[in-house]
Symmetry: C2
Subunit: 409 residues, 2 copies
């Protein structure tokens, strides 16, 4: 057993690890766009038609030939002959000439001969047949041309995009009612440690409940992965090796959620090495917390050894597992981040990235981050933290008042 | 038909509206904590026991009586007698005296008589029975006391909290395997407008697909609500009234996604008024886009009239519907927000809040927001926007370089 791990800087560890991750999507399913929100698109979406497909008004008012209004003013309005009203959804047969107009609502089809719409606020009905226009409009004003919004054949949404409500609107508009979305990887979560008992059991003195498996499970789910709990394995070489090998065969990724006994760490590492090439790429990352992290790939499947402290485990999950799941699905990671100003000095050391839990509050319209200082295994610190700030490895700390970025839970 | 709506400032509209929303949770279900991620907690969670429940080491090293190490240095180490090794998960029977120690791993139970742990890096084995300690430790150092993390009876998580991975860890640690979470409201989405066709149909000239129903559906889902599409109703007074009344009976909230014909707006308003008291509270909000918004409550159920433009519809959803859903579930709205610097001047007018789509990019480590300018009905503008910035109603615009907050889609 070596007491001192050789620590790799975080960015270097990720770069070395990520080249072995097979970029997806590997599996996809076709879903109705109603069910596609927050999913990763597994295909490119090309517009099958011009949109809106007809010249469309963007205002309530009167469709006109713009030149009929040139020079119009409140003192000298242009008087136009009203040829009718365009009904919504109607393919109008009207054709307008000079000094003619037709009533139109927002979204209505601009008739032949017209090239602009005058807003209703700038018009007055003189009688049933005559409209006075008090402002001129330019050709194209308040009109979207037939191909102006989206031309047929345009790449609208690329594979890998996380679909948001406006994207769903665009898919609906284009008449794409179903899309292929990436199916998340099957991720096995194995808990190791003789001190662990299941959360349904009552721990004896010396024992604790297996909390990390559940937070990791939920974090995998939130990333779009398909987690499975493989239970608690006792600190014994053969048992660890067997369960890791089985989970590796049946899953796309494996997470070994670390207990903290020294022997078990070695068993874990050896069991991961035995899975196949290239094996353990990184054991020890220059971050705090999260130092004893293992990053491995075997037969194309990522395998992670996560530290036993609950906050460390989540920090390492966010740094390495979440982006690996996103890559596997062919997307990019969506981080919930915000900016804040730090309310206290926080010391660090050169050569190590520190991740510090913070609680956010708003004061005078500004977001402030209060560092949460607790003992490292504390559960109380978990529930009061809104997110985590990073202190880069090239500074000795950050100062009160500095603007920082916070990754939110 | 009135051309000019009486416009209410956004904050005032919300204040007037929200007092009629019945704060929830109204319905809850019991779920395994595995399935509770991002759910709204529908009960307070009080710790049923002390945690960790025993004095626990936070480091790998040796458990000691701190006073045995006082004055220890590299030049003059304290020599301690090794009494044994504490195994993980074991309720140790050891009792340490002065000048004695026991090997312990992180998470191990600190034995009787010991009050601190010396990190392994500060110790050296002289022989099988003797450990040299080169640094002193203070009482309590590297140890979490039995009740120190969480005392039994502590309110750990309050009703209304959105559960995040660290909360799931805390629930697991406390032995709370199931929690009550809020069930979202049933939200009916009714589309009005003679120009609309279903997304499975091919529109004729003058017609467009009913895109807003789908983006609103997905946005409701993302907020935790239970959306249901009630289809497209034609611009005809009786048809609108009937479907709104039926949806109101069968749902907890109703959204009428506006077409754009003028007659239909009046039918919608009248139909909502007919549902019951207090009826339409707001018709017209001083925002752009989103002016023709209707906010109503009938028989305790919120009813919304959303504008027909796709981006307007989403802006109004985020401002009024999303927080109403959160209140109904007894939680607070979680907005995905970020800060950015604006890359161009954007004009507005006093007395109106403007909501402008922006695209985000990172340059020199700073997040910049580029305003997306498109014609108001544009679908192309939807897919290229990362979020929306607000220009308050008391300024004439925001300037290039200003720091702004962006609500992300």
């Amino acid at each position: 057993m070596s007491l001192f791990l050789s620590l790799t800087p975080r960015a270097e560890a990720w770069d070395k690890f990520k080249q072995y991750i097979k970029v997806g999507p590997h599996e996809s399913e076709t879903v109705n766009i109603c069910d596609a929100i927050d999913c990763i698109l597994a295909e490119d979406i090309i517009s099958p038609a011009d949109l809106p497909g007809f010249a469309r008004s963007t205002k309530d008012g009167y469709a006109v030939r713009a030149s009929s209004t040139f020079g119009a003013s409140q003192g000298l309005p242009a008087l136009l002959t009203l040829r009718g009203r365009i009904r919504m959804g109607e393919q109008t047969k009207l054709s307008l000439g000079q000094h003619e107009c037709a009533a139109i609502a927002t979204g209505g089809m601009v008739p032949e001969g017209a090239d602009a719409v005058v807003m209703i606020e700038m018009c007055e009905a003189i009688d049933d047949e005559t409209i006075a226009v008090t402002h001129s409009v330019a050709p194209g004003e308040n009109v979207v041309g037939a191909k102006e919004d989206i031309a047929s054949g345009t790449l609208m949404l690329s594979q890998g995009r996380r679909l948001r409500p406006p994207d769903i609107a665009a898919l609906a508009a284009m008449g794409v009612p179903e899309v292929k979305v990436a199916v998340g990887p099957k991720v096995a979560v194995i808990s190791t440690g003789d001190e662990l008992v299941d959360i349904w059991d009552t721990p004896l003195p010396g024992q604790v409940r297996d909390m990390n498996a559940y937070s990791i499970y939920s974090a995998i789910k939130a990333c779009g992965g398909r987690p499975k709990l493989w239970g608690i394995v006792k600190d014994e070489s053969l048992a660890i090796q067997e369960i890791i090998a089985k989970a590796h065969r049946e899953s796309d990724m494996v997470i070994v959620s670390g207990g903290s006994s020294i022997g078990e760490r070695d068993f874990t590492r050896e069991s991961i090495e035995a899975l196949g090439d290239p094996g353990v790429l990184i054991h020890g990352v220059a971050i705090k917390p999260g130092k004893p992290t293992i990053l491995a790939v075997a037969e194309g499947k990522p395998v992670f050894g996560l530290p036993g402290h609950p906050m460390s485990s989540l920090v390492v999950f966010n740094l390495f597992v979440a982006p690996a799941i996103a890559m596997w699905m062919g997307g990019t990671l969506f981080r919930r981040e915000t900016q804040a100003r730090l309310s206290a000095n926080v010391a660090s050391i050169i050569g190590r990235e520190d991740y510090v839990s913070v609680k956010l509050r708003i004061e005078d319209g500004e977001v402030w981050a209060d560092p949460v200082f607790t003992k490292s295994a504390a559960i109380s610190g978990l529930v009061c933290a809104d997110g985590i700030m990073r202190i880069p490895d090239d500074v000795e700390g950050v100062e009160k008042g500095d603007r920082i970025r916070v990754t939110l839970f």
